[in-house]
Each structure stands twice: as structure tokens, then as C-alpha cells.
């Protein structure tokens, strides 16, 4: 399918396989450690406390910053994407997530896929990357708080994984669950939320080619604050649907109850499609601020992906199914 959301095509032969550049990175890291210990052996105490920039401080491929989405809008900077995060498992302070999550271990990472499937299994993200060859997908992300970004994800269609486990004919929905690790995620110690985070999709939404599991960002790994080890990205829905740090995927017959819906069902519907015509009681959805811009811009129906996804909701009243 020739879809307009994909960025400039790159031949798969030209892409460095992830395990190759990862091992290259490990090599550089190891070289750094050796060089560092040699320096220490040479009694240079000043080296000891020298700040080492965390890997997440710069994009793996800075050239991606020049790219645009299919509507011609530039991608947001790596710094903005990785320092402005709604990730209540760490903190409600968007700027604070990066620091609090910097030691969160995202590799190795396992995802359990089960429920109404013929072949339930546990998958290592490294294996999924080798098997499904993630590609770059430049998507708009529209937060329910009325701000948005353009993000160059690296990921593969969720349908590939679902086809492998083979949903049974009873399976109607897919539910996702974030890791529950309160010792590493301080926000999960807060008693005000029904942790762990849960989200769900209808099976046809989950099988849609736009729906991806992301394993990378800006040509590199997926940093912890962006949802690493592995996260969902559903670009035509409000950002909270795109659940992070997934450890469990389950096929179900019943509509899953997401965390936000459990808290406030009148505000966070199951579908949560970006829709300027269906008003959220709290935030105006008619306009949004693109991060990096001053003036608000009009919000697009289905976040600009109407052509690809409107068919999923034919005959449904989107004011009721919000």
C-alpha cells in the first residue's frame, strides 16, 4: 500500500540493522570504559566526577530533525520530544520525567501476548526488532491537553505481532498493560491512580496499518521517558491511548477499561479519536498548540488521518462514541 504517512522511503538494505548499531554502541561504550579506567590508572582524579552526558541527550540521527510529516510540518526537536512527557508513572511534571526515568531499565524487555489467541507467547523486544524490521514513521501526536508534536518514531505494525499469535474468532478487542514497578516508577506509589496503566483498542483499530508498536525514536533507541522498552502509537487518537512501557497484550471479547476511563468516564472515552467537533468538557479540542509555535492552529479530524481511518467508524455516532 502506498500510504502518504510514511516518510521518504529508505531501502531496507540501507538501514543499519538495530542489533548492528547497538553492538557498535556497546563497543564505543566499552572503549570509553577502558579509556576511562586507563585515565584513572594515570591518577587523574578530575576525571572521576566528570559528567557523562546520558545517551538520551542527543538524537541518534540528528539529520532526522530536517524531515517533515506528510503535511509538510517539521518534526519536533529531539530535546522537546524527550523533555516534555506526560508519564504519570514517574511524575506529573512533564519536564521532570526525563531525569526521573534516566535509570529506568528498558532492555532487555519482554512482552507477554495472550488471551483469546491460538499461540500465546512471550516476546523479547530485541527479537521483535530482528523479526519485524522496524521502519521510520513520522506521526503527529495530539495530546488531549491541546498541544501537539510531530515525532519520528521507529516501529512496526502491531498487526504483524497479532497475526503471529493468531487471534481467535471470539477476540474483539486488544488490551495493553504498562509495567507495574513502583520501586522504579515513583509515581506508581501515589495512591490516587488505579495502577498499572491500561489501554485498549478495537481489533480492527489494532490491525490498522497506522497502528504501530514503537521501539525507537529519532533513528535510535526508545528512551525510557518516551515509553521504552516498547510502546503503542495510534496517531489518530489522543496521546493517552498510546500506552508506554507495555509488558502485556491481551486479546479479549469485552471492551477493556483504560486507566483514565476508570478515573473519569465522562471525559475519557474508549475511542478517544482526535476530533475538533466533539468537545471535551475540560479542554478545548478545536485548536491546539504545536510545540515550538506560538499561535494555536486548528485541530484536524482524526488528527489529519481521516482518509485512512474514517472508514473504521462508518455508521457510528462519534459524539456518543467519544
Amino acid at each position: 500500500m502506498d500510504s502518504p504517512f510514511k516518510s521518504v522511503p529508505v531501502k531496507s538494505s540501507e538501514i543499519t540493522p538495530k542489533h548492528v548499531y547497538l553492538s557498535r554502541r556497546d563497543f564505543i561504550k566499552a572503549a570509553g570504559v577502558i579509556a576511562g579506567s586507563m585515565a584513572l590508572a594515570a591518577c587523574l582524579p578530575s576525571q572521576e566526577g566528570a559528567p557523562q552526558a546520558p545517551e538520551t541527550d542527543s538524537a541518534a540521527d540528528p539529520a532526522i530533525a530536517e524531515k517533515t510529516d506528510e503535511l509538510g510540518d517539521p518534526v519536533n526537536s529531539f530535546k522537546d520530544i524527550t523533555n516534555y512527557n506526560n508519564y504519570y508513572e514517574f511524575t506529573t511534571d512533564k519536564q521532570g520525567v526525563a531525569k526521573l526515568s534516566q535509570n529506568f531499565k528498558t532492555s532487555p524487555w519482554d512482552v507477554e501476548v495472550g488471551g483469546l489467541v491460538k499461540n500465546p507467547a512471550k516476546f523479547g523486544v530485541e527479537d521483535l526488532i530482528k523479526k519485524y524490521q522496524p521502519e521510520e514513521r513520522i506521526y503527529r501526536l495530539r495530546c488531549v491537553e491541546a498541544w501537539s508534536m510531530v515525532i519520528p518514531w521507529v516501529g512496526f505494525p502491531l498487526s504483524k505481532l497479532l497475526n503471529e499469535v493468531e487471534p481467535t474468532s471470539d477476540a474483539k478487542y486488544v488490551s495493553f498493560e504498562t509495567i507495574f514497578a513502583p520501586d522504579d516508577m515513583p509515581g506508581q506509589k501515589e495512591p490516587w491512580y488505579p495502577w498499572p496503566y491500561r489501554e485498549g483498542l478495537r481489533l480492527d483499530e489494532a490491525m490498522h496499518d497506522l497502528t504501530i508498536l514503537a521501539t525507537g525514536l529519532y533513528g535510535g533507541e526508545l528512551p525510557p521517558q518516551s515509553g521504552g522498552g516498547i510502546r503503542l502509537v495510534v496517531p489518530w487518537k489522543y496521546g493517552f491511548k498510546s500506552i508506554k512501557a507495555i509488558v502485556k497484550i491481551e486479546l479479549t471479547a469485552e471492551e477493556p477499561v483504560s486507566l483514565w476511563k476508570a478515573i473519569q468516564p465522562s471525559e475519557y472515552g474508549f475511542y478517544a479519536n482526535v476530533n475538533p467537533n466533539v468537545d471535551h468538557p475540560r479542554w478545548s479540542q478545536a485548536t491546539e498548540r504545536r510545540i515550538g509555535e506560538i499561535a494555536r492552529r486548528p485541530t484536524l479530524t482524526f488528527n489529519g488521518y481521516a482518509e485512512q481511518v474514517a472508514g473504521l467508524y462508518e455508521g457510528m455516532d462519534l459524539k456518543i462514541n467519544y
Binding site: 490516587w192 483514565w260 478515573i263 473519569q264 475540560r282 498548540r289 494555536r296
Partner: protein, 211 residues
């Protein structure tokens, strides 16, 4: 001859301007997140709420013996208004770029904005009449007018509650901070009620020598 500043007075004025200085510093050093407009709105609003709570704390604390606070109350209230005005100005001028149509639509359809706007409109006459001239001119009515703050404060807390992602009714979600302010401001308002006040008077006369 002018009176010299008391230490408490100095502290109040410092506390009043420091948040603005820090905000400007953060703005100039690009430390206001990737979404600085929203960050300014939120920080200004939060600071306004803190000063509102501080100004409401003066009367009960003065009643318990710290008399000078009654003279500092007005300045604290005015700083509250300063930050509320900054909050509203940024909302109208920068966030919505004076787009009156969009502003009215959101004030009309978003309850929390309507509640915040009401609170701010009610705050304006209090700020305007904060000068001594008006205090003298309005006489008894000045005090009556300024009792509006007992209505404004709960409105502001409600506005704060509703601006966060949480549920007021089952107390889930991002509710801790708003709840904290609800408890503090609720307590400060309760302390003004007749029966509570007389109970406190009895307690004070029992514990402390008569003033």
C-alpha cells in the same frame, strides 16, 4: 517622615516579587518546558493561589496573637491579584492571541475557565479599592465588599481542581495538590465562623494571659 519597613513587611514584598523574577529568569534561560506559554500560565496561577491563601491566613493568625499580620494582609492580596492578572493576560494575549471568538467559546463551554474568569472578575473591584482613598471613602462598605474573597477563594480552588486531570467526586487522578489547597483554604475560612471563633477565644484565654 516615612515609616521604616518592618522585617515582616520586607519579607512580604520580597516574597511578592521573587516569583516574578524567577519566572523571568526561567523564560530568558529557556527553562520553561517545551510549552512555555502554558508553563507561565500555570505558574502564575499557582502563585496567585498561594498569595490568596497567605492573605486569608493573616486574620486567623493575627487573632491568635500575631497582630502585625492584619497590616500585611492587603499587600499579600495585591500580589495575589498581580499574579492572577499575569495568568489572565497571558491567557488572553499570548495563548489565544486576542482571538476573542475562541476565548468566548472556551469561557462559555469550559466550566473551569468560566469559574476562573468569574473569580478574576470578582477580584478586580477588590484590587481597585485596595487604595487607602477607597478604604476611607467606602467606610463600612469596604469591609463588606472585601468579604467577596470568601467566595473567590473557593472558586479559585475549584478552578485549580478542574484544570488538573482528575476526578473531584471519587478523588482519583491528579488531585493531591488541589485537595491540599482545598483543605488549607477551607480551614482558613472555617476559622472565621462565629462559633469556631468563640471557641478559639476561650482556648486562647485559657492558654495565654489576656492581651
Amino acid at each position: 517622615m516615612k515609616k521604616r519597613f518592618t522585617p515582616l513587611q520586607l519579607l512580604v514584598h520580597l516574597a511578592g516579587w521573587i516569583p516574578l523574577a524567577v519566572l523571568l529568569f526561567d523564560l530568558l534561560t529557556d527553562s520553561l518546558t517545551a510549552n512555555p506559554i502554558q508553563a507561565i500560565e500555570q505558574r502564575a496561577g499557582y502563585t496567585a493561589l498561594v498569595f490568596l491563601a497567605l492573605s486569608l491566613a493573616c486574620t486567623p493568625l493575627a487573632f491568635l496573637g500575631w497582630k502585625e499580620l492584619t497590616q500585611r494582609r492587603k499587600a499579600l492580596g495585591n500580589y495575589g491579584f498581580l499574579y492572577a492578572a499575569l495568568h489572565v493576560t497571558v491567557f488572553i494575549a499570548v495563548d489565544y492571541g486576542f482571538n476573542l471568538e475562541a476565548i468566548l467559546r472556551d469561557v462559555g463551554t469550559k466550566q473551569y475557565i468560566l469559574i476562573g474568569a468569574t473569580a478574576f472578575l470578582l477580584l478586580i473591584p477588590l484590587a481597585v479599592t485596595s487604595f487607602n482613598y477607597w478604604m476611607k471613602r467606602l467606610g463600612k462598605n469596604w469591609k463588606r465588599l472585601h468579604r467577596l474573597v470568601y467566595l473567590i477563594a473557593p472558586l479559585v480552588v475549584l478552578h485549580f481542581f478542574m484544570a488538573r486531570k482528575g476526578n473531584l467526586l471519587n478523588l482519583t487522578g491528579d488531585v493531591f495538590q488541589p485537595l491540599l489547597f482545598a483543605v488549607i483554604i477551607g480551614a482558613l475560612l472555617l476559622l472565621r465562623l462565629g462559633p469556631v471563633k468563640s471557641a478559639l477565644t476561650r482556648l486562647r484565654t485559657r492558654l495565654l494571659p489576656p492581651v
